[in-house]
Subunit: 343 residues, 2 copies
């Protein structure tokens, strides 16, 4: 199996991309198509001593920066590394794409180059919240800022299939992210989605408040991309604030420093447990190919895990199942509108 890796994506590219490729190739025996500026990638592979690994460089002459406007950049830079990586999947050369680049650009590029699974109205970006062994899938966390109720029902259907095929959960519990438990809670969108999910045939367990995601009350939690992104960023922000405070407090007194030195391994483990990177990135569900998006600040370990996750996803039969499920659900549902509001 070959996974296409965007060698130019990420805050620290190509260092962590190359490092992650080497680790994944060595540990999992996955072949990597490393896409980007060939001389740069070749030099970095050499610097990191990757001679013996199964990593092939695929040339791309352009790069999309983290701050570029996605829709425009993806269309203008045809030979951008992310576009070339997507084309490898489109042509059947690679089984999936991993990128730590500009999230909006990766989503746009996936839509343009791979299209959607027929019957799916909007792809959704999922994230695996690190509260259980398998991770709790929350989607959409950023692909669609404005959603119609039916989009969220499709997110639930896609999430359910993902949890079954990739995470191995036989009867995934589906929750709706909301600000209260009762069915009358939330905004109009949430209330309507609640009604639709109740009669969807899915294993719908009701509303889940954001402070209850960590309590493992659902395997898949659906929301619109604005709310999901907000909840993820608020959670990450709180964690960063607490760990920053903790560091300041520890450094404020000598006896605290000594005590913290003893606690250090435990604190690091905790910090790691809150780190989404450990879980192998965010799957973009609903596009017609395996696409995994990782944090811009993903280190080589996070890249490695994303490559593994891409490989597992490709061999899980996820796409085939989605194609079957949605063509049955919507026999003639290939909409002509292929745009998605990227955030």
């Amino acid at each position: 199996m070959i996974i296409a890796l965007d060698g130019m994506g990420g805050d620290n590219a190509p260092i962590d991309a190359v490092g992650g490729a080497i680790l994944a190739s060595r540990e999992f025996g996955i072949d990597i198509a490393l896409v980007g500026e060939p001389q740069l990638l070749h030099a970095e592979l050499e610097r990191q001593g990757a001679a013996a690994q199964a990593i092939q460089i695929v040339s791309a002459s352009e790069v999309i920066g983290m701050d570029e406007a996605p829709a425009q950049a993806v269309r203008q830079k045809k030979d951008a590394s992310i576009n070339v990586a997507m084309q490898l999947v489109k042509k059947g050369v690679a089984s999936g794409v991993v990128s730590a680049g500009n999230t909006g650009a990766v989503m746009t590029s996936a839509l343009l180059n791979l299209g959607r699974v027929p019957g799916i109205e909007r792809p959704a970006l999922g994230t695996l919240a690190p509260y259980t062994e398998a991770g709790i899938l929350v989607l959409d966390v950023g692909a669609n800022a404005d959603c119609k109720p039916n989009y969220l029902v499709q997110f639930a259907q896609m999430g359910s299939v993902y949890a079954q095929k990739v995470q191995g959960i036989p009867h995934p519990r589906i929750g709706l992210l909301n600000i209260g438990e009762e069915d009358t809670k939330g905004n109009e969108l949430a209330q309507e989605v609640f009604r639709l999910l109740t009669k969807s045939g899915l294993n719908f367990v009701g509303n889940v408040e954001p402070d209850r995601i960590s309590m493992n009350v659902a395997d898949v939690i659906v929301t619109d991309g604005f709310t999901g992104n907000m909840a993820v960023k608020a959670t990450e922000g709180a964690a960063e604030f607490i760990f920053r405070q903790l560091r300041d407090v520890i450094l404020s007194r000598t006896q605290y420093k000594l005590a913290a030195a003893i606690l250090r391994p435990a604190l690091l483990k905790m910090r790691q447990r809150m780190d989404y990177g450990e879980y192998g990135g965010a799957p973009l569900l609903g596009v017609n190919g395996v696409v995994i998006i990782t944090h811009g600040r993903a280190d080589e370990n996070a890249i490695k895990n994303s490559i593994r996750r891409a490989g597992e996803t490709a061999s899980s039969g996820l796409l085939e199942t989605l194609r079957g499920a949605f063509s049955r659900r919507h026999p003639a549902a290939v909409s002509s509108d292929s745009s998605a509001t990227s955030v």
Copy 2:
């Protein structure tokens, strides 16, 4: 000055309400009208030894439970403690209301009994995020699940006045809670509000992502009640998860327990710093009276701080300034629609 305190509101009523009333009366010399079931309150006051304090019991025969449907309960139980407390303000007997009861019921009761400041379309629930000395005001965090763009502009105007009058910030920086910094980010509502705030004449500093609230980039941050409630609950949830994990980790090994004993005062201080209760509750802005809502699990200390905050708010001139500002802005804006979607 007299503050009306809902003696029957809160998970632990009337114990913490009575305790908070005693503390506030003793420390700040604020007279308390303690509203609720007289025999119960009298017994609790006696048990806590409040004989010498200026606390007067005001009788109310009904109680609204934490889980009751607010709109119905407030209308049916005319003699509920929260309704009686609001009427004390309406009649000019008390200068403000404090309640740790059912948030939806307090909001509904305030609207029904006090009405809105003329010109204000929807009251908003604010919270003071505990990241600065004065606290960063975030609103709406739960009064209006669905908002029109203009509501958020009014939230910004109210928040700006609150920051000036109550928090003493001369030129409050106004931010818009959003999922990215650029003006093209967010859902349709956020994008439209961004445009309106830019030309509002307020000191608008742009979008603020939830993970940047703690970085003191704005004094007042506006959002719709669904998103605001989501962000607050996600933040609290993350904090609770981390402290729970920390406790588990500490208890897992003897040397961790010893180290944690040394760090204990610092950890408690940190935990306290994340505790919204320390900041004196959430102001309900836009109703025609001073109303402070605290957590259902507010302890006597949080109740005490809320009473102080109610007193400070009443003497700050906030309401008078709001009345002046909004009557100028909207000379004939007393809408006939007095309902607000409570969440």
